[in-house]
């Protein structure tokens, strides 16, 4: 048993038992972050704050929501939106945050790709981040079922149909996932469970892994410079804060993070109060009707690019392309054969690859929403082929890259 002395203060009493000074040192004051960074490095904090907003608003929604096919729609649109004080606020915060969180995730991802922050020891950061992307996607999809509107129902129908695996006609799997021949009570109940329990638990676990994965390789910096963290930290601790190439997580890095969060929240709350239709699709304010398809079925904007990769092909090839799109980002650290972990603009052809990929995914996103007719389906097909082509080309492009 450790040796305890009579506490000199409350702080000392707690410190002897929980070691909070050590925790503070390890997690904040001596957790070293490179100084040479820009606001894109604050996206992690922005995501953490958005996740907190989702969690808190979700807790209040959960207290009035009823996972029953007969009452779900009214419990959201009548009870929460009309009766509960500030119920509308929680719902708008929840709905808008669910959409905006993906915007920030995509910015975070493309930042990582641009600065090469997925290689030379940072592979696990990338992979755990992609796991978060997948769990967030599942969380978003399951949450979208809950208001039991027309888009909930039909998105549920179309997406669960994907599990029949096209030509294999595995209808048994589809019925097993739904617990019924069509999305109905069992389906709503299990997606409710996934949304409020299992997936949030998984997300929190993977967030821990993601943070943990950062610890050993450290955060990357704007120029891909390899820092000697111990030497720079010693400089900082010796009082040469100006000369040191690192800063402490708290309060140095955090003060910048929170300023970025402040700017982000201005944008976020503007959307919550004055511009929410993009995140709360009007079609979903019609109650679910299994015998009436909406004129246009499309997923939320953040799934559109992968939906468009599915769509222009025949069922089986479409499913394969879709499966390819779901896993390929995980493999990025291994498909990039270049040893350079530096910004894309100094990597020759890869720079081209980066911007082409970004533009292509935006084109896919746009075409995924537009009706698949005429020129739009042609553009969609070309963009889907370009997407696959770019990934196939990546190892060759990066292999030929010279060591910087």
């Amino acid at each position: 048993m450790a040796h305890f002395t009579k506490a000199t203060s409350v702080h000392d009493w707690i410190n002897q038992r929980l070691g909070i000074d050590t925790v503070r040192r390890v997690m904040a004051t001596e957790y070293w972050i490179p100084k040479n960074i820009n606001f894109l490095w604050a996206m992690g904090m922005v995501l953490a704050i958005t996740f907190a907003l989702l969690l808190v608003s979700g807790i209040f929604l959960l207290m009035y929501y009823q996972p029953n096919v007969n009452t779900a729609f009214d419990s959201v649109n009548y009870t929460i939106m009309r009766e509960v004080d500030f119920g509308w606020l929680w719902r708008h915060v929840h709905g808008v945050a669910a959409s905006v969180v993906f915007l920030v995730i995509y910015i975070h991802m493309f930042t990582g790709i641009y600065y090469g922050s997925y290689k030379n020891g940072r592979e696990m950061i990338w992979i755990s981040g992609m796991l978060l992307f997948v769990t967030f996607s599942a969380e978003a999809f399951s949450g979208y079922m809950l208001p039991w509107g027309q888009m909930s129902y039909w998105a549920g129908m179309v997406i669960t149909n994907l599990f029949s695996l096209g030509g294999l006609h595995a209808d048994g799997i589809v019925e097993w996932i739904r617990g019924d021949y069509v999305p109905a009570q069992a389906f709503l109940d299990r997606f409710f469970m996934l949304h409020v329990l299992l997936l949030p638990l998984a997300i929190m676990g993977v967030i821990g892994l993601h943070f943990g994965a950062l610890r050993i390789p450290h955060v990357n910096n704007q120029d891909g410079e390899e820092l000697d963290f111990e030497k720079e930290a010693a400089k900082y601790k010796a009082g040469d804060k100006k000369g040191s190439k690192v800063i402490a997580f708290a309060n140095d890095f955090m003060s910048k993070d929170l300023f970025v969060v402040g700017i982000f929240l201005i944008f976020f709350f503007y959307l919550v109060f004055f511009h929410y239709d993009f995140a709360m699709d009007p079609v979903n304010f019609d109650p679910a009707d299994g015998l009436k398809t909406p004129a246009h079925i499309y997923p939320e904007w953040y799934f559109l690019w992968s939906y468009e990769i599915l769509r222009p092909f025949s069922t089986n090839i479409g499913l394969m392309a879709f499966g390819f799109a779901q896993v390929i980002f995980f493999l990025l650290p291994f498909l990039d054969r270049s040893p350079n972990a530096i910004p894309a603009n100094r990597r020759g052809l890869f720079s081209l690859w980066f911007w082409a990929m970004l533009v292509d995914m935006i084109v896919l996103t746009a075409m995924g929403k537009l009706p698949p007719e005429g020129i739009f389906s042609t553009i969609g097909l070309v963009a889907a082929l370009v997407f696959i082509g770019l990934w196939i080309a990546l190892p060759f492009i990066t292999k030929s890259e010279k060591k910087a």
């Binding site: 649109n77 708008h92 003060s255 402040g262 709350f269 004055f274 009007p282 904007w301 935006i362 746009a366």
Partner: protein
């Protein structure tokens, strides 16, 4: 400054994506119809000045309006209850008490002369189908038809409440409420649903509603939807242009042109907003306060950051 340049790049790509998936995609998916400001330009203008007294005689007498319509303000009850009426004609006949304020005068005149034409449902009652609109055309009481119609319209206007006394709920009930239920405002097609002490009475009422809806479904081809959430699912512009002329947005729809005035349409929409977007005023007010707060929050965050980073640069 480099950070501002990066911010500009992120903003441009974000806005491009937003533009493509929202305004652009929706402009391709949904037909856009401009409002005609409820002018009903296809209907002839009223040329004669109506006389309310003569109109009263026509409405009560030769026009035979009261054979089917109630006029409660004039002390005339409906000849049949709503369910029996719907079973005979397909839908309950409107009480004419406020018709003069709810409906456009030109529209009323055209309706009296040729209902299917004014309502724009001639595709349902063409010669080939052999069906005729349940409201009989008024062929005149022996005098000048235009004058007689103008007199009847003048009478309806004289008995109606004044525009400023017409509440959004009244406007909705008169113009929409015989076909559309509105669960969130407790409205059924046969009126407000009362609260019952006895389960049996409640069930009896519900059965009446179902009988009415069955007759209505037969008449319209499908049951007209509940409008509780239409303000969020369709939006103000769509509702307004749809009410003005349903055929513009959904060709061949069974929904008739309602013929309301622009003021009434606004009130109908206000009622829909009360039902489906009840907290909109609170949302705007809270929104403004939160925006002010969050700007102050960001400002203080900036000042704090600057004070800390002074030592670092």
């Amino acid at each position: 400054m480099k950070e501002l340049f990066i911010l500009a790049v992120v903003t441009v790509f974000t806005l491009a994506t937003y533009y493509l998936v929202e305004p652009f995609a929706h402009s391709k998916m949904h037909k856009h119809v401009e409002s005609e400001k409820f002018a009903y330009a296809d209907l002839p203008a009223l040329t004669k000045k109506g006389d309310a007294n003569r109109g009263k005689d026509l409405v009560m007498g030769a026009g035979a309006c009261t054979g089917c319509h109630a006029i409660k303000v004039a002390g005339l009850a409906a000849p049949m209850d709503p369910v029996a009426t719907a079973q005979s004609y397909g839908v309950n006949t409107p009480d004419l008490s406020n018709a003069g304020v709810v409906y456009d005068a030109k529209f009323l005149a055209a309706l009296i002369k040729n209902p299917a034409h004014a309502l724009k449902v001639e595709h349902k009652y063409d010669a080939a189908s052999g069906k005729v609109h349940p409201m009989a055309q008024f062929g005149g009481a022996g005098g000048d038809l235009d004058q007689e119609v103008a007199d009847m319209v003048a009478y309806l206007q004289s008995i109606a409440v004044k525009q400023d006394k017409l509440t959004p709920k009244m406007a909705f009930e008169t113009a929409c409420g015989r076909c559309h239920a509105m669960k969130y405002e407790n409205w059924t097609q046969i009126g407000d649903k009362p609260s019952f002490k006895m389960k049996k009475d409640e069930l009896a009422f519900d059965i009446q509603v179902i009988d009415y809806q069955d007759a209505l479904t037969k008449y319209m081809g499908k049951l007209p939807p509940d409008l509780s959430m239409y303000i969020r699912s369709r939006g103000e512009h769509y509702i307004s242009t749809f009410v003005e002329n349903p055929q513009h947005l959904i060709e061949g729809t069974a929904m008739p042109r309602v013929g309301v005035t622009a003021e009434t349409a606004e009130k109908v929409i206000e009622h829909l907003a009360d039902a489906g977007d009840t907290k909109r005023v609170e949302r705007d007010e809270v929104g403004k306060k939160v925006m002010v707060f969050i700007v102050i929050f960001a400002l203080f965050a900036y000042l704090w950051k600057r004070s800390i980073w002074k030592d670092l640069h």
